[in-house]
Structure formats: structure tokens, C-alpha cells
């Protein structure tokens, strides 16, 4: 099993969700996060008081999937979240040791 973590632009969430559904992903966890990479932050000005925010709002998606579809999951996210501009985000893939469905006690691939 693999854990795929993707940091994407917030407005791309719906497209990514649809793309993941078509490759057979049955669930995901989504959070609103802030961070920075190569994309610069923004400057906010309130009556002349300037605050530059280095952190840019992003969406973090976490998907656990069977190892054999992990490549397709990554490709689907990469294709759907791509705008070609700086700040499109990143995808990380990690190994997962165990998964349990709380309701039934099913484990690993059957629990996903």
C-alpha cells in the first residue's frame, strides 16, 4: 500500500477528485494548509501597514491506495492539478505498513 500526499492549488481540488475517482480511488482526506515553495507570498496592505505573507494557501490531499495503482494515482493528480505555473504543488509517495477499517476490522487492501 502507498500513501500519496499531494499539495495542490485550492481551485484544482474538484478536478483532482474527479480524476482520482476515475482511476478507482474510493476515498481521500483533504485539508486546507499553508506553506511555501518557489511561489512567492502576497503582500497585504491595511491603511498603509504592509504585511507580506510568505505562506500561500494550499490544499493537501492524502490518499492511501494499493501499491499497483499508485503510479496511476500520481499521474492522475499530476495531470489534473497542472496549470504550468509556479505554485502548482508537489506529490509525495510513502509506503504504508498497515490499514484497518474500524467498522469491520478488515485489514490492508480490503480496508481501503
Amino acid at each position: 500500500m502507498k500513501l500519496v500526499i499531494a499539495i495542490i492549488k485550492p481551485f484544482k481540488l474538484d478536478e483532482v477528485r474527479e480524476a482520482l475517482t476515475t482511476v478507482g480511488v474510493a476515498g481521500m482526506t483533504v485539508s486546507e494548509v499553508k506553506g511555501f515553495g518557489r511561489q512567492k507570498g502576497q503582500t497585504e496592505i491595511y491603511r498603509g501597514a504592509e504585511y507580506s505573507t510568505n505562506m500561500v494557501p494550499k490544499i493537501k490531499i492524502e490518499v492511501v491506495c494499493a501499491s499497483d495503482i499508485a503510479d496511476r494515482v500520481v499521474e492522475a493528480i499530476q495531470a489534473a492539478a497542472n496549470t504550468g505555473a509556479i505554485g502548482d504543488g508537489k506529490i509525495f509517495v510513502l509506503d504504508v505498513g498497515q490499514a484497518v477499517r474500524i467498522r469491520t476490522g478488515e485489514t490492508d487492501d480490503t480496508a481501503l
Binding site: 497585504e44 496592505i45 491595511y46 491603511r47 498603509g48 501597514a49 504585511y51 505573507t53
Partner: protein, 478 residues
């Protein structure tokens, strides 16, 4: 009720600005051939009350209350950080409540009864002698409004003025010492100022008692709805307070962005709507003069909002909502003393100028000098008030389409002979007196409270927020 039917002749409002032509159209005496009654008695004055004027006074009073709560409270509240939202709302709400009690107990009497040039007496303390049939003067011969309506209208001014001050040291003041300051400041600064600017014997009595007026009224200073009494007065008190209390912890080193500009916009819009009661209501009569003040208030505000947005577009490349609403408030402040004297086109110019100067103060001067006037009470209310007070001397000139002033030392009253240079000089004198009196007394009060009860909460309290520590609640429980 007969025993209570005392005539309250020692009552007045702002310096009148009705054109002489209006005087001939409205009053009851115009219908008869006999002319106006000089110094009418109590029963005669009651018959000179107009139901339209009375309605307008009562509606205006409610509109001005809406300016404070929720208008000013939301305007200010949106600008502070989440952890201090309730402290600002509570300060404004309680100041309004306490000020209205102080007003009926001794404020009205100190402001609007005959005393000396500086302050009135205590003859109407606790509203002694006031009843449904006692009257207050307007700006026209033989036109009166019920005294209760006048008391209610002026009460809302006494409520909003100290509430304006709290913006200067928001996020770092203890609640109870603040309210004690407000009671003292109202008594020693606001009521005397209101007396000096707005107290006079009234149009049917001044000719026989030309010295029965407040000091600034006697000078001939023009302040239609409270540029000196309300805005400069509160603005300088705020500046003095923020200097004595000190900067917020983390000022200039950590970000302090407004927590909800949505609420700030709602609050600013309520201020704009309520300000029609403030300015057009200050005409005291529902007539052409009120309509003029209404239109002037409308367009000066619009011009100031546009000006601030345009300046931001040029300076920062982006017009901000906060800039737009800040400009609107600057325009409202600036037109306040001039509302009944200016013409619509000169009001627009006044709005533009006030907005530009206030922009310069809140963005440049404040940063240069480094004082932490949290919500720009000085930069908007005091500076905008000064611009408006001085400009009133210019825009009131009949040669610029202004209304000039009415000379009430003749009976019936006549249009006064306008001298712009002399009027501007008088306006400047009034501004300086307000700055010195309010600034000086405020400094004494703030230092006194600081030395006894303390003004500033502990650092931990300030860092964690006033809401949870001073009031035991949070604004938002998600």
C-alpha cells in the same frame, strides 16, 4: 401636568444656517400678519411645535444611536484581531449605556442650561422640570421642538463621542478604568465643549440676552453637527490616550491584520446611514435646511470614498475595501461641521481634500512618528475634523453658494454679513481651543487613572487576548 409646564428657553442647538428665505416659509407666524412673537411664553411656545419636526428629531435620534451600536462597534470590531473582538464591542456598547445615564443625570443640564460661557448649571440635573410640554428652541423664530426630543437627540451624541475614543488604544486597555475615564471625560470635557459650542438663548431670546451663549457660539464659530465637539474632541483624546497607554505588544514586529473586513464594511455602511440623522438631524427642523445637510453629507462621503480608492490605486496599485470605507468615514467626519452650511459641489471638494489628507496621516505620518493609534481615531476623526472645521469657514461663504450665518441678535433674525477670512480665523481658534482643552484634560485623566487603577492589562492578558481574560468569552466558537 400644569405644574411642570415650565418654559425651557435656555436651550439651543448648533449655530443656525438657514437661509433667510427659509425663515419666511416655515414658521407659524408667517400665516398671520402680526409677525413673530418676541420671547414667547411657555404655552405660546408649545403651540409653536411642529409634528413633522418632532418626528424628524425622534427618527434622527434613533439613527444616531444606530451609528454607535452596531455601526461603530462593528466598524472597529472588524479591524481588531479575533482575540479582542468582544472587548471592542463591549466597550462601545457599555460606553453608550453609561453615557446615556450620565447624560440624563447631569450631562444635559451642564451642556444646555444657562451658566457661564464655559459650562451650564445643574438646574435640570436629573431632568428636573422637564416634561412632555416643555420645549427646546430650533434655528427659526417661533419654531420649537419638544424638549424630550431634543434631549434624546443630543443624548446620542454624548453616547457616540466617547465611544469613538476607544479605537485609538483598542486591544490593550482595561475595561473598568476605561469606563471611569469616560464618565470623567464626559463631565469635564464633553459637556463643557457642547455648552461652549451649542448653547445659546435661542432665536426668540438672544436679541434680548446677547451674552447668554457658550464661549465658542459667542465667538461666532460655526459647527453644524459636531466637528469640534465630537470629532476633534474625541480624536485628540484618543491620541493622548494611545501615547500614555503605549504601543501594543508586538506592534511593528508581528502582523496585526483586521480579523473581519466584512464587519468593518457593514459597520461603516451603518455609520453612513446613521450619519444622516447626525447631520441632517442637527438642523432640528424637517425643512430645506435638513435636506441640504442630507445631500451634502451624501456627496461629501461619496467623494471621499472615491478619492481614497483612487489614491490607493495610484500608490499601491490596488484599491482596498478598507481604504474605500476609511475614505467614506473621513468624508463623513469632514462634512459634519459644514453639513448645513456648504453647497453640494463644495461638499464634494471638501470630501476629496479630507480623504487625501487623512490618507496621508494614517499611512505616512503615523508610520513616521511611530505612535500606535490602533484604529486611526486621530488620523481620521481629529484630522478629518480639523479639515472640516476650518473648511466650514470657507464653504459657508454665500459667494461660494454657502448658507452664511444667521444673525439672531436682531429680532426677527436676519442673514449675517459674511467675512470669510474672519470666519476661518474664528474656526481655527475653535479648533485650537478644542485641542488644548480635550488634549490637556485627557492627559491629566489618563495619567491619574494610570497611577491609581492602571490602564493597561498584564502582558499575558494582552497576548492571550482581552476577550477571554477581561470578559470570559470568545467571539467565535467554531
Amino acid at each position: 401636568m400644569g405644574g411642570l409646564m415650565t418654559l425651557s428657553r435656555k436651550i439651543a442647538g448648533g449655530a443656525g444656517a438657514l437661509a433667510a428665505t427659509l425663515l419666511t416659509t416655515a414658521p407659524a407666524w408667517a400665516q398671520g400678519a402680526a409677525g413673530p412673537v418676541r420671547a414667547p411664553g411657555a404655552e405660546a411656545a408649545v403651540a409653536m411645535i411642529n409634528k413633522g419636526d418632532t418626528s424628524w428629531m425622534l427618527i434622527s435620534a434613533a439613527l444616531v444611536l444606530m451609528m454607535s451600536i452596531p455601526g461603530l462597534a462593528l466598524f472597529y470590531g472588524g479591524l481588531v484581531r479575533t482575540k479582542n473582538m468582544l472587548s471592542v464591542l463591549m466597550q462601545v456598547f457599555m460606553i453608550v449605556s453609561v453615557a446615556s445615564l450620565v447624560w440624563v443625570c447631569w450631562g444635559y443640564s451642564l451642556a444646555f442650561t444657562s451658566g457661564n460661557a464655559f459650562v451650564g448649571g445643574l438646574s435640570k440635573a436629573f431632568l428636573a422640570g422637564v416634561g412632555p410640554t416643555s420645549v427646546a428652541a430650533t434655528f427659526s423664530n417661533n419654531v420649537y421642538v419638544p424638549e424630550y426630543a431634543f434631549i434624546a437627540f443630543q443624548m446620542t451624541f454624548a453616547c457616540i463621542t466617547p465611544a469613538l475614543i476607544v479605537g485609538a488604544f483598542a486591544e490593550r486597555v482595561k475595561f473598568t478604568p476605561l469606563l471611569i475615564f469616560v464618565v470623567l471625560w464626559l463631565t469635564i470635557v464633553y459637556f463643557p465643549m457642547a455648552h461652549m459650542v451649542w448653547y445659546w438663548a435661542g432665536p426668540d431670546f438672544l436679541a434680548d440676552a446677547p451674552t447668554d451663549a457658550g464661549l465658542l457660539y459667542g465667538w461666532g464659530a460655526l459647527d453644524f453637527a459636531g466637528g469640534t465637539v465630537v470629532h476633534i474632541n474625541a480624536g485628540i483624546a484618543g491620541l493622548v490616550g494611545c501615547l500614555i497607554i503605549g504601543k501594543r505588544h508586538g506592534y511593528k514586529s508581528e502582523p496585526m491584520p483586521p480579523h473581519s473586513l466584512t464587519m468593518t464594511m457593514i459597520g461603516a455602511s451603518l455609520l453612513w446611514v446613521g450619519w444622516f440623522g447626525f447631520n441632517a438631524g442637527s438642523n432640528l427642523e424637517a425643512n430645506g435646511g435638513a435636506a441640504l445637510a442630507f445631500v451634502n453629507t451624501f456627496v461629501a462621503t461619496a467623494a471621499a470614498a472615491v478619492a481614497w480608492a483612487v489614491i490607493e490605486q495610484i500608490v499601491h496599485k490596488k484599491p482596498s475595501l478598507l481604504g474605500g470605507v476609511s475614505g467614506a468615514v473621513a468624508g463623513l467626519v469632514a462634512i459634519t461641521p459644514a453639513a448645513g452650511f456648504a453647497a453640494p459641489m463644495t461638499s464634494i471638494i471638501l470630501g476629496f481634500v479630507a480623504s487625501a489628507v487623512c490618507f496621508f496621516f494614517v499611512t505616512t505620518v503615523k508610520n513616521k512618528l511611530g505612535y500606535d493609534d490602533t484604529l486611526d481615531v486621530f488620523g481620521v476623526h481629529c484630522v478629518g475634523g480639523i479639515i472640516g472645521a476650518i473648511a466650514t469657514g470657507i464653504v459657508a461663504d454665500p459667494s461660494l453658494g454657502g448658507q452664511g450665518f444667521i444673525d439672531y441678535t436682531s429680532f426677527p433674525s436676519v442673514a449675517g454679513k459674511y467675512d470669510m477670512a474672519a470666519q476661518v480665523f474664528t474656526q481655527i481658534k475653535a479648533v485650537v481651543l478644542t485641542l488644548v482643552l480635550s488634549g490637556g484634560v485627557s492627559a491629566v485623566l489618563f495619567y491619574g487613572i494610570k497611577a491609581t487603577m492602571g490602564l493597561r492589562p498584564l502582558l499575558e492578558v494582552e497576548v492571550e487576548g482581552l476577550d477571554i481574560n477581561e470578559h470570559g468569552e470568545r467571539a467565535y466558537n467554531y
